[in-house]
Amino acid sequence: MIFANELSKAYTGERGSVRVLNAVSFEAAPGSVFTLLGPSGCGKTTTLRCIAGLEQPDAGEIRLGDRKVFSSREGIQLGAERRGLGMVFQSYAIWPHMTVGENVSYPLDGLKLGRAERDSRVRRALDLVGLAALVDRPAPNLSGGQQQRVALARALVAEPQILLLDEPLSNLDAKLRDQMRREIKRLQRRLGVTALFVTHDQEEALALSDTIALMNNGEVVEVGPPRQLYDAPIHRFTAGFLGLANFVPGTVVGEAGDGVMVETAFGRFAGKRRSGTTPAADLFFRPHKASLAADDRAGSLDVGTGTVAETIFLGETNDVLVERDGQRVRLRLPGRLPREGERLSFAVDPEFSLVFERSSAPPAA
C-alpha cells in the first residue's frame, strides 16, 4: 500500500518560490496499479520522486505498507536506499559499465545472499522479462526494448512490494510500447506488487491502471477507476483532459429525471449537473456518444440539429463537425460520410451527458 497525505513542496529559485505540490493526498491499494496522470509540469513526477525518496517534500506524510518513510511533523526522512522499492526510470538508467547480469544483481548486494541463491534470483528476474540468454551481454549493446526489460528485471529482482514506474514507455516506438504495456500489466498481476505509475499519456493510463489520480497544477484533481473518470467525471478538467469532449454553451431551463434540461443552439438535452448553480452552463458529451438521428426527431429532447461544416474520414469512423449559430460540436459517426453543407440531426446518449459550470474558456469543438 502507498499512502500519501498532504504532500506539499515549493522550489525556491531566483524569481521567488514556485509551488510544485499542493497538499497532494492519495492511497494506492495493495496489488493494484495506481497511476498519476496529468499534463507536463503538473507535479506527477515530483510526487513519484518524493515517494521514492529522491526528493523531499516540505510537508506531509508518506507511508509504504505499514512503514512511515516520511513525516514532516515527526521529522522522519528515510533515504531512497532504505525504502525497499523497485523503480523503472524514464531513461531506464541501465549502468553502461556493467553486463546485464551485473545490472540485475546489483540490488541484491545489500542482502547478503549466497552465490547460488543470488544467481537463481537473477535468473528468475531475467526469465520474467524473457532475457535470460543475455545475462553476459554488456549493457551498451542492448536495444531500447531490451534496456526496458533489464530495467524491469532490476527493479523486481529484490522482490519489492512496491514498484515505481516513471513514464517507462515514453521512449519506445508505438508497436513496442503496446507490447510492453501488456507485459508490465501481466507481470504486475503475476507478482502482486503495488505499482505506482506516472504518465502523461492518457491512453496508457486508461489501459494499465486500476485507479487513476488526475493531477493539475500540483494538485490531485480527481481519483477513480479509469472507466469512472472517463464516463462520469466529477470535474470539468477531468472531462476535458481525458479523451475528446464537447462543451456546448447553454441555459438550464428545467429538471429532467434526476438531472437538468439544457437549451443549446442545437437543441435541448438532458444531463446530470456536476457543478454550478446558475442557469448559464456548459453541456458535456463525448463525440462517440452521439449517433445519427432520423430527421423527424429534430426538436425532441436529446436530439440536436445543425449543418455539417467539416468531415474527415478516419477509417473505422468519421469525424464530423456540426455547426449552428456560430457554435460547433464534434461527432464521431460511423457509416456513411455526410456531405459538407448537409443538414444533420444527431442524438446524444443522456446517460453520458453532464452539465458543468460555464467556463470562460472558449468551447472545445
Binding site: 521514492a52 525518496g53 529522491l54 533515504g79 531512497a80 536506499e81 532504505r82 525504502r83 525497499g84 522499492l85 523497485g86 523503480m87 526510470f89 524514464q90 531513461s91 538508467a93 549502468w95 553502461p96 559499465h97 553486463t99 546489483y106 540490488p107 548486494d109 545489500g110 542482502l111 540468454a133 543475455l134 545475462v135 553476459d136 551481454r137 554488456p138 549493446n141 530495467a151 532490476r154 527493479a155 529484490a158 515505481l164
Partner: protein, 574 residues
C-alpha cells in the same frame, strides 16, 4: 553533509590560508623575517612599491612582455589553425604534430634551447649569420624582444589547441555565402571567418594574457641574466638572498598582491566572456560538411612558409638541445664536431648528480599531486553538481575551487613558504610541500575537467543505484567512479604532465633534499653545467612525450578491451 563541509575546509586550507598569510606579510617591513615574526605592521611596502620608479619600469616590462608574447603566440596559433583546419595546405598532419610538440617541452628548457641558438656570443643562428656576412641581422636573445620571441613561440602551441576547435567547427556555409557574394579568400577571412570567431578568440587572448603575465620560466631563464625584470622574476629575486642580501618577504608579498589583483581582474573578465560566449554559437551541427578553401597559386609558398615556421618552433630548439647534450663543450654543429659526440653528460647525470634521487622525487611528487588533485577535483565536481545541499552552497564551492585560477604560480610558491614556516607541519623543504602547492595550482583546471565529465553522467544512473539499496558512498564507488574512469585517467595524466613541467612553484619551495626534474635543470643551467642541463632537458622532453602519448593509447586500449568483451558475448545471443 559531512563530505561537503570537509571539501570546503580542504579547499579553504589550500587557497584561503596561503592568501591570508600573503596579505598579512605584505604589511611587514623587516627584511629577513617571516609574517609570523613581524613585530609591527605598516604600509611601508606599499609606499615603497608606489613611490619607487623601479616599480613602473617593472610594470612597463611586464606589460610589453605580456602583450608582445600574447600577440605573437595567438597570431601564430590563429594563422596555423586557419591554414590547417580551413585550407587545402599540404602536409596538414605533419604541421599539426609539429605545432603541438612544444607542449612537451617545459618553457625553461625551451628558453635554454633558444639561448643556445640566439645568444650574442656563440648562438648558432647568430654565428651562421655572421659567417654569411649578415652580421647586422644577429639577434640578442638577452632582451625584452628575446623573451617575447621565446614565450610567443611556446605559447603558439598551447594556443593552437584552444583556437583550432572553433575553426574546425565553424559552419562552412558562412564562408561559402561570402564567396558567392563575390568576396575573395582574404576578404572572407577578414570579414566573415575572424569576426564570427571573435568570442572564442577573445577568450583565448584574455586567458593567455594571464598566463604570460604570471609566467616565470622564460623571464627567469632569459630575463634575469639580461637584467630585464618582470613581476614574477622580481618576486622571486626578492626572496633569494643572492640577489638582495636578505630575503624581503614583505616586498615580495606586496608585489604578489599587485600581480594577483591584475590576474584576478582578467580572470573575472575571462569568466564573463566565456559565459556570454554561449550566445554566439558558431556550430550548427546540421548539414555540416567540412569544406576547405583552395589556396590556389599561394598553396606552395604558404606550405613552404608554414613548414619553415614549424621547424623553427619545434625542430630547431629540440635538435639544438640534443646536439648540445652530446658535446662536452660548445661546438657549432659541423661534420668536424661529430667526432666529439659522447654520452658523457648523460652518464654524469646518473653518476655525479644523483639523478636517481631527483627522478624518485619527481615521480613521487607528481604522482601524489596527480592523484590528490584528481580525486579532490572529482569530489568537487560531484558536490557542485549533485550534492543534496542548497544551490547557493554549491555555487560557493564552485567559486572556491575556481579561485586558484587567478593565483600566479610564483605567488603560490611564496605563500606556501609562509604557511609551512608558520604552521607546525614539518614538511618545509620536502617534496610534500611542493606536491600540496601543485594541488592548489591545478585544482581549478581539474575541477573544470571533472565537472564536464560528471555532467555526462545522467543523474538517473545514480538514482537507480540508490533505489537499489545503495547509499551515497556505495553509489559513488560502484556507479559514478567507474563511469568516470576515462576522465579520471585523463585528468591525472594532465596534472602529472603539468606538474613535471611546472618550474615556478617548485623553484620557490625546493631544497637540496627535494630537487625535482624542473629545478634540477634550472640549477644545472644556472651552475653552468650546460651539457648536463641539456641532457636532462632531453630526458624530460622524452618523458613528457611518453606521458602525452598515453591518453590516446589508454582510450584505444579500452576500446579494444570492450570489443573483445562484446565479441565474447555474441554467442550468448544465439
Amino acid at each position: 553533509m559531512l563530505a561537503f563541509a570537509a571539501t570546503v575546509l580542504v579547499l579553504a586550507y589550500l587557497t584561503l590560508v596561503p592568501l591570508a598569510l600573503l596579505v598579512y606579510g605584505s604589511f611587514m617591513d623587516e627584511p629577513g623575517r617571516l609574517p609570523i615574526e613581524a613585530s609591527a605592521l605598516s604600509l611601508q611596502n606599499y609606499v615603497q612599491v608606489v613611490t619607487d620608479p623601479a616599480t613602473y619600469r617593472l610594470l612597463a616590462n611586464t606589460a610589453v612582455f605580456t602583450i608582445g608574447a600574447t600577440a605573437l603566440g595567438i597570431g601564430l596559433a590563429v594563422a596555423f589553425a586557419w591554414l590547417v583546419e580551413r585550407t587545402d595546405i599540404w602536409g596538414r598532419n605533419l604541421l599539426l604534430i609539429g605545432i603541438v610538440i612544444p607542449m612537451a617541452i617545459p618553457n625553461m628548457i625551451y628558453s635554454s634551447a633558444w639561448i643556445l641558438l640566439l645568444n650574442p656570443q656563440n648562438g648558432w643562428i647568430n654565428d651562421l649569420l655572421r659567417q654569411a656576412g649578415l652580421g647586422w641581422l644577429t639577434f640578442n636573445i638577452y632582451s625584452l624582444a628575446g623573451m617575447i620571441l621565446v614565450q610567443g613561440l611556446s605559447l603558439a602551441s598551447h594556443a593552437y589547441l584552444l583556437v583550432a576547435a572553433p575553426f574546425k567547427m565553424l559552419d562552412p556555409t558562412w564562408e561559402e555565402q561570402s564567396a558567392i557574394a563575390g568576396k575573395g579568400v582574404a576578404a572572407t577571412l577578414w570579414r566573415v571567418t575572424l569576426p564570427s570567431l571573435k568570442p572564442a578568440l577573445l577568450a583565448a587572448i584574455i586567458f593567455f594574457t594571464v598566463v604570460n603575465m604570471e609566467t616565470f620560466d622564460v623571464p627567469g631563464t632569459i630575463g634575469i641574466p639580461a637584467q630585464v625584470n618582470v613581476f614574477s622574476t622580481m618576486i622571486y629575486a626578492a626572496t633569494q638572498p643572492e640577489y638582495s642580501g636578505l630575503p624581503d618577504y614583505g616586498l615580495a608579498s606586496t608585489l604578489s598582491i599587485v600581480l594577483l589583483l591584475a590576474a584576478a581582474c582578467l580572470i573575472w573578465v575571462y569568466q564573463r566572456q566565456t559565459r556570454h560566449a554561449k550566445q554566439f554559437v558558431t556550430v550548427t551541427g546540421k548539414g555540416f560538411r567540412p569544406r576547405r578553401i583552395s589556396l590556389g597559386r599561394y598553396r606552395l609558398p604558404l606550405t613552404a612558409i608554414a613548414f619553415a615556421v614549424v621547424a623553427a618552433i619545434s625542430l630547431l630548439p629540440v635538435l639544438m638541445l640534443i646536439w648540445r647534450s652530446l658535446m662536452p663543450f660548445y661546438m657549432a654543429p659541423s661534420p668536424k664536431a661529430l667526432g666529439l659526440v659522447s654520452l658523457k653528460a648523460y652518464v654524469d647525470l646518473f653518476t655525479g648528480y644523483d639523478l636517481g634521487q631527483v627522478l624518485r622525487n619527481t615521480a613521487l611528487m607528481s604522482i601524489t599531486a596527480g592523484i590528490a588533485t584528481t580525486l579532490l577535483a572529482a569530489l568537487v565536481a560531484w558536490l557542485v553538481l549533485r550534492a543534496p545541499v542548497p544551490a547557493g552552497w554549491r555555487s560557493m564551492l564552485n567559486r572556491l575551487a575556481f579561485l586558484p585560477m587567478a593565483i600566479p604560480s610564483i605567488v603560490i610558491g611564496l605563500s606556501f613558504i609562509f604557511v609551512y614556516l608558520t604552521l607546525p607541519i614539518p614538511i618545509y623543504g620536502t617534496i610534500w610541500i611542493i606536491a600540496i602547492a601543485m594541488v592548489t595550482k591545478y585544482i581549478a583546471f581539474s575541477s573544470g575537467m571533472m565537472m564536464a565529465a560528471q555532467m555526462q553522467i545522467s543523474p538517473e544512473l545514480e538514482e537507480a543505484s540508490r533505489l537499489a539499496g545503495a547509499g551515497w558512498g556505495r553509489t559513488y564507488r560502484r556507479i559514478t567512479f567507474p563511469l568516470l574512469t576515462a576522465a579520471l585517467v585523463n585528468c591525472f595524466l594532465w596534472v602529472v604532465i603539468h606538474v613535471v613541467r611546472e618550474l615556478a612553484v617548485a623553484v620557490m619551495l625546493y631544497s637540496s633534499r627535494s630537487e625535482v626534474l624542473s629545478t634540477k635543470v634550472w640549477s644545472l643551467w644556472l651552475g653552468g653545467w650546460v651539457a648536463q642541463a641539456s641532457a636532462l632537458g632531453v630526458l624530460t622532453i622524452l618523458a613528457l612525450v611518453l606521458l602525452l602519448g598515453l591518453p590516446p593509447t589508454v582510450i584505444r586500449l579500452r576500446r579494444k578491451l570492450r570489443n573483445l568483451r562484446e565479441a565474447a558475448a555474441v554467442p550468448a545471443e544465439a
